[in-house]
């Protein structure tokens, strides 16, 4: 009898304990539920997002510097293989969507706190200013990645702006035209923000634009880093317009290339009109010395600054070079191909003449010296070189490049 009572007591105890436990669990569950406490998904989402941010910092460095985080990596070798032995500056690799994609595909992107990230097989998307997703005005690119943790993966997008392409024109007083003109045509850009393409538009950029907007422009067999020198004037204007820009004007070109001399004073009453982009003193410049001595012998270093007619026999032309530069970081300003600019002040002067078509002893190698291009084709008849006409001896395969500029809101 006594034993039976014990059994009953034990059963009662167990039932009481289980009931109390269930009640306690219920209370905790309800408290939990009321507070809307997250599930494992919140932690998973936060962990993967944090890892994706860490990855993006590295990716952004790769994008803007045009290299992997390990110097001279296998990925860099693979992605540059088709250009081996060719002469181009590494700035071409910066903010370059095709090269960046190649680096991503050939690199081990690694793990970020246990989160695996790899490039999606989807091709990147170029977002021009007209694209509803473009928020910056400049060209943006959408890259997709697969982010994986604990066997679950999700696709994430990273939008990268081409921050390498443009340079800012400081606000100040400027002058148009060369020293030849007796009166300087003055203007200023106070309260206006102008950004200019650093380099001439290259073949890769035209190819991507041509593919995206199905322009059906026949692109000659050239490397992506070469300047696009085969578009007619209307196509150049279309290219810039489709990128939310316009073709660089002669006045902005002069502003960007004439060394201002007194940089600290944007309202300086004296506009510096030195002949060359690099210094105020004309006499010290190697071009001026060659003019005086009529000595057209060029060195490799001089060809880096002005790729004149003589340079072809000395050194291959370096594409996307940063060596022929101006005071605001505009590149490819002297020598090489011709450059078309729009000029509404004097429409008969729309072509920068300093180029590989003239000897270094020609006076065309001076800032502000311009000729005319009809813009329709590249036959010699489409050009007017004025008094420099007899100095040009290669009348075939004339190349004309261009670059764009744009205005930006505060």
């Amino acid at each position: 009898m006594g034993k039976k009572i014990w059994v009953t007591d034990r059963r009662t105890k167990i039932i009481v304990i289980i009931t109390m436990s269930l009640v306690l669990m219920g209370v905790l569950f309800l408290k939990n539920w009321r507070q809307n406490v997250p599930t494992i998904n919140e932690k998973w989402s936060a962990d993967t997002s944090r890892a994706f941010i860490d990855f993006s910092k590295k990716a952004q460095t790769m994008w803007s510097e045009g290299r992997t985080l390990i110097p001279k990596s296998e990925a860099e070798k693979i992605c540059q293989k088709s250009w081996e032995g060719k002469s181009f500056h590494e700035s071409f690799l910066q903010c370059n969507p095709d090269y960046f994609s190649c680096l991503l595909e050939n690199s081990n992107l690694g793990e970020f706190n246990g989160v695996k990230i790899r490039k999606s097989t989807k091709k990147y998307q170029m977002l021009l200013s007209r694209n509803p997703l473009n928020s910056e005005g400049g060209t943006e690119y959408q890259f997709n990645f697969l982010v994986e943790l604990q066997g679950l993966s999700v696709e994430r997008s990273l939008y990268l702006l081409d921050t390498c392409k443009e340079t800012y024109l400081p606000q100040r007083l400027y002058g148009l035209n060369s020293r030849e003109q007796s009166k300087v045509w003055e203007w200023d850009n106070f309260n206006r923000h102008i950004f200019i393409d650093r380099h001439l538009v290259n073949v890769g950029e035209v190819r991507r634009w041509n593919e995206l907007l199905k322009k059906n422009i026949s692109i000659p067999k050239k490397d992506d880093f070469e300047a696009a020198t085969f578009l007619n004037k209307n196509q150049m204007h279309d290219f810039c317009f489709d990128h939310g820009k316009e073709v660089l004007s002669a006045m902005v070109y002069d502003a960007a290339v004439f060394h201002p001399g007194d940089y600290e004073n944007p309202r300086s009453p004296f506009l510096n009109r030195s002949r060359f982009p690099w210094n105020r003193s004309n006499l010290q410049n190697f071009i001026f010395k060659k003019w005086k001595s009529k000595d057209s012998k060029m060195t490799k270093e001089e060809c880096d600054k002005v790729y004149s007619k003589e340079c072809k026999a000395i050194v291959p032309f370096k594409h996307s070079s940063t060596l022929s530069n101006s005071w605001i970081g505009l590149f490819e300003v002297m020598g090489g191909s011709f450059e078309y600019v729009q000029n509404k002040v004097d429409p008969t002067k729309n072509l920068i003449l300093s180029s590989k078509y003239f000897s270094i002893v020609s006076r065309v190698h001076e800032v502000g010296i311009r000729g005319f291009w009809s813009g329709e084709h590249f036959d010699f008849q489409a050009f007017d070189f004025g008094k420099y006409k007899d100095e040009i001896d290669d009348q075939n395969d004339i190349e004309v490049g261009f670059r764009c500029m744009r205005r930006v809101n505060e």
Binding site: I18, E42, N134, K344
Partner: protein
Amino acid sequence: MNKILSLLFLFLLSFQMTVAKEASSFSDVLFNRIYLASKFVTELTDSLNHSAIVKPPNTWVTLARFEVGDKKYCLTYKVPYDNLGTIELRQSGGACDHFNGVLIHKLTDVQDVMIFFKEVENRHIALGSGDAFTFYLLYEKDKQKMKIAVPLLEIKGAREFKRYGNVARSSFLRGASFRKDPRTIFKDISGKYVDEKSVLCHKVSKGCVDTGPNECDKCPNGWYEVVDYNCKQGGTKFCAPSYCGDKGEPACLRGFEFTGTDRDDLCIADSPAGYCRPGLKTYCDENKILVCL
């Protein structure tokens, strides 16, 4: 019997630990909701980046409001009085109001709450080193100092308008975006001004008054400016393309400071502030815009 009780005890302990672990992930919940916010607003300007929020006691104050696309989140704090404080994250339909909106998550029994957000790297005695464009929430719970850091990836600062400046706005990761709000309203592409087909995106009136917002970012292919008044914000603007300098079209912009003179109204015949193609002259039209004829 003892085995059963031991198992029950272990089960309860593990359940309690799960709850504790989940409760500690307020930072995950906050992170997930706000890290893609494109707007961050706080009215606690006196205490932001500076001091703990201690008044008004026993009252709900809004620490910050975040907008992510069409979603709005409010981070509110009940300032301690007799009891310790509470921080709540709510999804709101409009303004932040503790009694409205859906409770997402909360932290109880906290005090010494501070918030930090700067567009540059910063140091503070309570924060230590702080990253730019990162929202920091500091609080004390169970006598422990806690810090939640959430980078606000889509908050954009200013551009560097200087030589060699970067065209991208400053942000947590300059030039990079992680989420996009599509621009749903686009302006049309401009036609010729003379045909009355140019598309206005920013109208500036006499006295440099903006008649409407500057919507030139909605122009699909950029914009251009005309000569009208001598204003800090520039002149009236139209969507691209520009036919400036052509007959009947606005004059191209030349600036005005180069003249060394000063005047409010630049729209006068032969105004030096604009230029035309050779053979044309500048005139002021009935819209008070300098045109070429």
